[in-house]
């Protein structure tokens, strides 16, 4: 029982919220917000309490201290998103949809937890679908808006397609090894051409989920069409969970063809960083901008995966943690501004510092963290990623990576420039953001500032990350 406590707790609060939502009268639906956040807060805190780990259902479900940490990281991110989205949910047009928001996000989170904990491909696939399909409904939140509807349809089509490709790969694995259990597949894996093909299909499917170039094109439209809070969930939590499970499967199931997937990752990593960065430069809509920047960040994450070492693994998890705080900080500010003023273009941010200094500073910190500028946490994350790649002697990759950080710095600075340097005749007027948004941003800022200096965070993840590769 306790082994599955993350998932069970989530299921329990989801059921509670569902029942409460049903019995609430229509005009009191918004009262569910605070209880949802509080319940989820309790779940997050409980998740950090150490507990038993092990396997269930004959190895279908497995968890280790490291996987628990991954789940905790995701929980933290979702908690911040919950807090950040309160202001948006309270808007009049979202009346009657508040309960759905929490229920759907929680069920996708359950899916992700099962996915990360999976010990065989069936469980993995089940979790993956639970984690993606409900999201399409959220992407199409403002269903009467063309863009939002488009986002929903695009998301469901691409995820269906990628799931198909993924399943095809899995079926080949089953066909050649006679098992879907990770451990048995690992033993029976002998790198026949069909298995290599299976890996290619599997990787392509995952590449869709993580938005690795050349499977990234859906991301910009989906991100732009969805409400900002959903976008941040897609870009941070979904992506983080997919990276985690990709790492686990690469390091275990496909261990024997490491040389092959290293090459694949090498090439895709370069493509992802470069193309993500180059496209981001031209974006003027803040959501599209952050979408492309998050593609580039995925490229950097692959850099750590290539390392295939304890260092690389730790760094990937650490980087995702840092990335959650940084990206949510940026999305949080964009979300607040979009809620209050409806403005989502970077050009509208001109002169923001003079009217809303704290928001601008938070945005700047978050962007600097994404760009990897010290002394904020992103610097440490990037530095360690490059260290992981250099450890394998991949200096060419490191050089391409660092040059990409310069390109990314350029477009992050463009936003900083708009906020701090530019002046505007009609800047966004001063406004006071509500308490929830403030708490959400404060959590992000605290994370961004503290995680880098607090080496115990890194050392803790490191101490758990052994024995997987």
């Amino acid at each position: 029982m306790l082994i599955m406590r993350h998932e069970l707790l989530l299921v329990i609060i989801t059921v509670i919220l569902l029942l409460v939502e049903i019995f609430l009268p229509d005009n009191r639906k918004h009262t569910i917000i605070l209880p949802s956040i509080l319940l989820f807060f309790i779940v997050t805190v409980l998740g950090f309490i150490p507990g038993p780990t092990g396997e269930l259902f004959g190895g279908m479900y497995a968890t280790t201290p490291l996987i628990l940490t991954m789940k905790n990281i995701l929980n933290l991110g979702v908690l911040i998103i919950f807090i950040q989205s309160v202001n948006w949910l309270k808007k009049i047009e979202n009346k009657g949809k508040i309960g759905e928001y929490y229920l759907i996000l929680l069920s996708t989170l359950i899916g992700m937890d099962y996915m990360i904990s999976s010990g065989d491909f069936l469980m993995f696939y089940l979790g993956l679908e639970l984690a993606t399909i409900p999201l399409a409904t959220l992407a199409a939140w403002e269903r009467f808006k063309e863009k939002s509807a488009e986002a929903g349809v695009k998301l469901i089509f691409t995820s269906a397609l990628s799931s198909g490709i993924l399943l095809y790969g899995i079926s080949m694995i089953y066909g050649t090894t006679g098992s879907v259990y990770f451990r048995e597949v690992m033993g029976a894996f002998n790198a026949t051409p069909l298995q290599v093909l299976a890996f290619i299909f599997f990787f392509a499917g995952m590449a869709f989920k993580i938005a690795i170039v050349p499977f990234h094109l859906w991301i910009a439209d989906v991100y732009e069409g969805s409400p900002i809070n959903i976008t941040s969930y897609l870009s941070v939590i979904s992506k983080g969970a997919a990276v985690f499970i990709l790492m686990i499967i690469l390091y275990t199931v496909f261990y024997k063809i490491a040389l092959l997937w290293r090459d694949v990752l090498y090439v895709t990593s370069i493509l992802t960083m470069t193309i993500g960065n180059l496209f981001a430069i031209r974006q003027r809509n803040i959501k599209r901008f952050l979408a492309f920047s998050s593609i580039a960040q995925a490229g950097f994450i692959l850099l750590g995966l290539i390392g295939q070492s304890q260092l690389g693994m730790t760094t990937v998890i650490y980087f995702v943690l840092v990335y959650i705080f940084s990206n949510l900080g940026a999305f949080g500010v964009a979300g607040i501004i979009s809620n209050v003023t409806g403005k989502e273009s970077i050009d509208d941010y001109d002169g923001l510092y003079r009217t809303n200094p704290l928001l601008s500073l938070t945005m700047m910190l978050a962007l600097f963290s994404l760009a990897g500028i010290p002394p904020v946490a992103g610097f440490f994350g990037k530095f360690f990623l490059f260290t992981a790649a250099a450890q394998k002697g991949l200096y060419l990759l490191v050089i391409i990576g660092v040059l990409n950080t310069i390109i990314s710095l350029y477009y992050y600075l463009l936003v900083v420039k708009a906020m701090f340097l530019n002046t505007s005749d009609q800047p966004i007027a001063y406004f006071r953001s509500d308490a929830y948004s403030r708490i959400g941003l404060l959590m992000c800022v605290a994370g961004i500032v503290i995680i880098g200096f607090a080496s115990p965070v890194y050392e803790f993840i490191l101490s758990l990350s052994h024995g997987l590769y």
């Binding site: 500028i373 200096y395 701090f420």
Partner: protein, 500 residues
């Protein structure tokens, strides 16, 4: 709390204090107090250092403090100083102190201005005390990034363009440094033990020469970008010209020295074989910097551009001297860093003050300023004379030492480049004297210049401190030379071992 960490703590506390200031005046006072404390702290450090040396403490690094930060990667907070770092810390604290007073009249967003400026200085101090490559790199970037806001918000002219260009080029340099650092890290322990970022530890390791050759260009060019190495110097004229006064002072005075210091302490010291083998390429490039900067300065009409190009020339000389690999030239390199740091800070301070009065920086629009603001004019002449290397000022000592050192090599290549580099002195004299003539002498070209007032107390304080330092070094260079030689010893020994 140890003395060295205080150099980071004091700026941070000052920033913290500024946050609670209510108006412009309080901000200035808090900044001034903070940076005065920093200056005092630097004085104490120099005294303590000299006392320790006099007492016979011959450790390479003094006041060492070593705290493990990331145990698994062996990253430490590792600080310590030798004579060179002490001298650089002294320079930094003088320039930042003068810089605070030179920006006494910044009114627009003054809180943010002083916070960024002091934050930047904390990066510089951190850089000079670091003995761990990771923290060194961290502080390096901390020193660079506030520049973007400082130039972009409070600058003049095409400031957005200049700020972006400067930031991207310098961060590009730091990207190269990162590659070099990782290379050093993964070759820091050939026997297979724990890897390290510690400079003293790596200096004891012999890294295979082919590995050195691969990583040396990354480090030297990476730091060289900040040291205005040709052809990566182009950020410098634009950046300096657009930056507000105190930022130009700090940037040309101190930040460009980060480049020289990094080339010296990291690239040359840790990769001596490659340094010897590849020196000729970089000697050619630095010679071009020296000459190109000097000639560039002749054609400029904007005072700040003149000085920016002259900085390229003078900083090129620093890198030039470092690559000579002998004690005399290297001593000269450090002296030149300090001398140029103070002198150029003085120049930029004066230019800022002149600009504040005449509202132009074009030399052909000005004239006869000696009559209306004698104090500033005299200061300008002093700075100019120091810059062209008049005996009695620091510039002479530094350049003389460099050229004597460079001439000790008796092969044709070194002789030729030395002669070329020496000729830059003549060019320097041309542009300095030309500016002095057009700016200060002659008739007053614009009637409203007659209403100009001379320096105010804070301007006198700012320039006074700098002039005092220039003349002190010029008249009594030996103690500084002694300080530097002290730190140079082990570095030279290592370089000479490789050479033979």
């Amino acid at each position: 709390m140890d003395n060295l960490t205080l150099f980071i703590i004091i700026p941070l506390l000052t920033i913290f204090g500024i946050l609670f200031c209510r108006d412009h005046k309080q901000v200035k006072i808090v900044s001034a107090i903070g940076m005065s404390l920093q200056l005092i702290n630097a004085g104490i450090l120099i005294t303590m250092f000299l006392l320790q040396r006099a007492a016979g403490n011959t450790d390479m690094m003094l006041f060492v403090k070593d705290v493990v930060w990331y145990p698994s990667l062996n990253i430490h907070y590792f600080v310590g100083v030798d004579g060179i770092s002490v001298a650089m810390i002294g320079l930094t604290s003088i320039v930042i102190f003068a810089g605070i007073f030179a920006s006494w009249e910044v009114k627009d967003l003054s809180k943010e201005f002083f916070i960024s400026l002091i934050f930047l200085s904390s990066g510089v101090f951190g850089f000079f005390i670091s003995l761990d490559l990771f923290t060194l790199f961290l502080f390096y970037e901390v020193a660079v990034i506030p520049m973007y806001l400082l130039i972009g918000i409070w600058g003049t002219g095409p400031r957005h363009y200049s700020a972006m260009k400067l930031t991207l080029m310098l961060m590009g340099g730091s990207a190269l440094i990162l590659v070099g650092l990782l290379g050093l890290y993964f070759h820091s322990n050939p026997s297979g033990g724990p890897l390290t970022f510690s400079i003293p530890a790596i200096s004891l390791v012999h890294i295979p020469p082919d590995v050195q050759r691969f990583f040396f260009p990354f480090l030297f060019v990476g730091f060289g970008v900040l040291g205005a190495l040709f052809p990566f110097h182009t950020w410098s004229p634009d950046g300096h010209a657009s930056a507000p006064t105190a930022v130009s002072m700090l940037h040309a005075g101190v930040l460009m020295k980060l480049g020289g210091y990094g080339c010296f302490r990291v690239a040359v010291f840790l990769l001596p074989d490659a340094a010897h083998q590849l020196a000729w390429i970089f000697i050619i490039l630095t010679t071009i910097s020296v000459i190109y900067g000097a000639f560039g300065a002749i054609w400029q009409k904007d005072l700040k551009y003149i000085n920016a190009y002259s900085s390229v020339s003078h900083c090129g000389l620093v890198l030039f001297a470092i690559l000579m690999f002998n004690k005399t030239a290297m001593n000269g390199a450090i002296l030149q860093m300090i001398s140029h740091g103070i002198m150029t800070a003085l120049f930029f301070a004066l230019i800022g003050m002149i600009y504040g009065r005449t509202h132009t920086r074009y030399i052909n629009e000005m004239g006869g300023l000696m009559k209306v603001m004698p104090f500033l004019a005299v200061c300008y002449v002093i700075a100019g004379l120091a810059s062209l290397g008049l005996p009695g000022f620091s510039g002479f000592v530094a350049e003389m030492t460099i050229f004597v050192g460079a001439f000790q090599h008796n092969d044709v290549f070194h002789r030729v480049v030395t002669v070329i580099a020496v000729s830059s002195i003549v060019v320097t004299a041309v542009y300095i004297l030309r500016v002095v003539g057009m700016l200060l002498l002659g008739r007053i070209k614009n009637d409203h210049y007659l209403e100009i007032t001379d320096a105010k107390w804070y301007e006198k304080l700012s320039t006074g401190v700098l002039i005092f330092s220039i003349t002190a070094i010029g008249l009594a260079p030996l103690w500084l030379s002694e300080l530097i030689n002290n730190g140079l010893g082990p570095i030279i020994d290592r370089l000479l071992v490789v050479a033979h």
